[in-house]
Symmetry: C2
Subunit: 132 residues, 2 copies
DNA sequence: ATTGCACACGTTATAGCATAACGCAATTGA
DNA sequence: TCAATTGCGTTATGCTATAACGTGTGCAAT
């Protein structure tokens, strides 16, 4: 799937996420876009919904926040399962992929005849700098 | 770590979760315990906090819900990373462990000098029965 | 050209999830 | 006895997410 041209709201939300140091909540995004005419949460959530669908933004379930995908110009849906390491001190997020992990999880899923739609892997802890 | 004697509120919350077919939200638990004197969310959240700490209950981050651990009498913290498959149709949850997945994730973490505190693996989709 | 549809958008209101801050009571251990 | 800890109850509040309504625009089929 290729990413279609973004609408105005989608572009604004995406730009905010791309320029951010770490993940942002929908309401934080809203606050950053008030100067651009945003007034209500739905304006953010609707844009996020599309950006998630296009695979250019990820949702971090464990902290109710969103980040721009670490692979600019690419569709993350094609990389298999995406895993995240989230520093609880500085908020930095590292995104990675491990095919062996994918393989093991998919093997389990297959054995159970479970039909996966969306898989979340999130490691919360301290990054190297913050753990020192 | 062994599980200490549960307090009254902790027991009530745990019993509700154990008897439930699937995961419950904190507010659902609250409603089920109104007859037992529960009046406020904090009564539930405080009990859950302890039950999570004892490892007898898990939090499902992706659906803001809680389940009793599938290994009665045991402390799940000792099983390594716990993974969940959550059926989005019937709500059923399957809990499993895969040491190879643990190993791969811990290898990555180690290479990055990241210090993990809590790891979430959740697969949402359809169980065999619901996918048919 | 107009009708019908799909989609993005704006607004208001509401639902659902979680915690802050206060105070009280019981327990424990120095 | 005193202080520290823990559990509990209550009120209030904050954060996260969606429902439901209506508007406008572009575009394709008739």
């Amino acid at each position: 799937m290729t990413t279609p041209q973004l609408t105005k709201n989608q572009s604004l939300v995406f730009d905010v996420l791309e320029k951010a140091e770490g993940p942002l909540s929908a309401y934080t995004i809203l606050d950053k876009l008030r100067d651009h005419g945003f007034r209500a949460p739905l304006q953010v959530y609707r844009a996020l919904e599309k950006l998630l669908e296009y695979g250019v933004v990820h949702r971090l379930e464990s902290i109710n926040s969103f980040v721009a995908c670490a692979h600019p110009g690419d569709d993350c849906h094609s990389h298999g399962i995406v895993a995240f390491a989230i520093c609880e001190s500085c908020g930095q997020v590292m995104e990675f992929h491990d095919h062996e992990v994918d393989h093991r999880l998919m093997a389990w899923v297959r054995a159970q005849k479970f039909k996966p739609e969306k898989t979340t892997i999130e490691i919360r802890g301290l990054c190297e700098a913050c753990a020192a």
